[in-house]
Amino acid sequence: MDTMRERFAPVVSRMLDEDPRVAVVLAEIGKDGFREAMARHPDRVINVGIREQLLVGAAAGLALTGLRPVVHTFASFLVERPFEQVKLDLGHQEAGAVLVSAAASFDWPAGGYTHMSPGDVALLDTLDGWTVHVPGHPDEAETLLHHAVAAGDDKVYVRLSVQSNRRGRVIDGRRLVTVREGRAGVVVAVGPMLDTVLAATEGLDVTVLYATTVRPLDTAGLRRATQAAGTDVVLVEPYLAGTSTAAVSEALSDVPHRVLGLGVGRRELRRYGTVEEHVAAHGLDARSLRGRIGAFVRAQGRVAAGV
């Protein structure tokens, strides 16, 4: 199976062929995938070199002339390093763009902390008007890239990762998908966390919702799920733990509720190794999740069958 990132270049290259509004802006990273597209559309595939402030600033300029820029590099260099450009050149200027990141929270653990961006979604949460897609499979990434580019002049973030579920689901770029129904709590699995969450909650009497679009959060779908499953909500996110806790609390602000936000820890591990080792170190493997979700749900006194 290809990775989301391997899917990205051919999908967007076809968009360049079909839609004269689409432009791609790169900062060296990812340019090989666009070699043919760059030959066909030299004015619409732009590599600015290793210059990430210019990457986002130039994208804003393209948007102000009416184009639809798709901007790509690793998440640390797309959202964190040029954050003020994201805030001002896109947000304050009212210029739209599609930011597509790679490397996620720890896709390249041997690369160390400089190439890890667990805080990207939380940072975007400080800004207004961003749509955030977190696909869990290359097929979903393709679908969400189409939604993102087609979203007028909206500001859209698409977070690609090498972490992936075994199969893609039918998603609509907006709503939560109900994967399993139970009565003792709601577990929201975001993007690549779904397979692990399903394994972790096997036999637990919980509803599992699948989120590939986290901003705006499908609050209506979440509220609907809590009607049968109660208002104990567990979030399992592939980025900073608790990133969506405020969004869930806001959705349930008029009813008593509990929220457990699971995800990547803040503490810098200073470890290299593999993705699996980092998943385990952050307590995001199936066994750890089962313990943490089970304890949270049981704490309300509703012991699920089979635990």
Binding site: G49, L54, G61, G66, D89, Q93
Partner: protein
């Protein structure tokens, strides 16, 4: 001279102190407030192909004020040229005024970008030039005005280093040099641009003919910078 309403009358250069006075309450302005005034006037009066009626025309010239500090001269020129109603000027900086101490493109007719945080205009201008080129609009010129101290911001150097080799011929930068950078070498500004392959001219930023000549100098295949020297900020 009475400037109480904008009835489509034509304003001239001599009206600018009065228009600025509507914002500042005084017709006398120090060098810092007027450092950009002559550059802006020559551009809007003789160079830029943009009018209030054409401000959404895809083929218009674009002027991006990157140095958003001290925008009274900019607002005065926009008012003189009919982009902004003169009766907006006295509200300068007020809660419900569109005219802030840094301009906002969403609020100010004719303002191509919002500015205030230094170092954003030139990268956006690069993208604007690229976007026009990608759409086959080879004629419109893109202008960006920055300050000499604003050049301290590294984002400018990302844009300068890219635009030269990329051959962005329709990109023009004006550096208003009022010696406000704390660390600078004489001649350093033009040299930076030239090293990146730009065409560069340094002129007296108060001399309208010299400015006009510098703005209209041919620069085939290369972006162009005009360094406009004015009185030191601290003078």
């Amino acid at each position: 001279m009475t400037i109480t309403a904008d009835h489509g009358r034509t304003h001239g250069y001599d009206d600018l102190p009065g228009l600025m006075g509507l914002m500042t309450g005084d017709e006398k302005h120090g060098p810092a407030a007027t450092s950009t005034l002559d550059v802006l006037w020559v551009l809007y009066d003789r160079v830029l192909r943009v009018t209030p009626r054409r401000r959404d025309d895809p083929a218009r010239d674009r002027f991006l004020l990157s140095k958003g500090h001290g925008p009274m001269a900019y607002y005065a020129v926009l008012a003189a040229k009919g982009f902004v109603p003169v009766d907006w000027l006295p509200g300068f900086g007020a809660y419900d005024s569109p005219l802030g101490h840094h301009p906002d493109r969403v609020l100010v007719p004719g303002a191509e970008i919002a500015s205030g945080s230094l170092g954003h205009g030139l990268p956006i201008a690069v993208g604007t030039a690229l976007g026009l080129r990608a759409q086959g609009l080879r004629d419109p010129a893109v202008w960006v005005l920055i300050g000499d101290a604003e050049l301290d911001e590294g984002s400018n150097h990302e844009a300068i280093a890219f635009a030269g080799p990329a051959g962005l011929e329709r990109l023009h930068t004006i550096v208003v040099d009022n010696s406000s950078a704390s660390h600078a070498r004489p001649g350093g500004i033009a040299a930076r641009f030239e090293a990146a392959g730009w065409s560069a001219v340094t002129v007296d930023g108060r001399d309208h003919e010299a400015l006009y000549d510098a703005f209209t100098a041919p620069h085939p295949g290369r972006p162009h910078v005009v360094v406009a020297r004015v009185e030191p900020k601290t003078a």
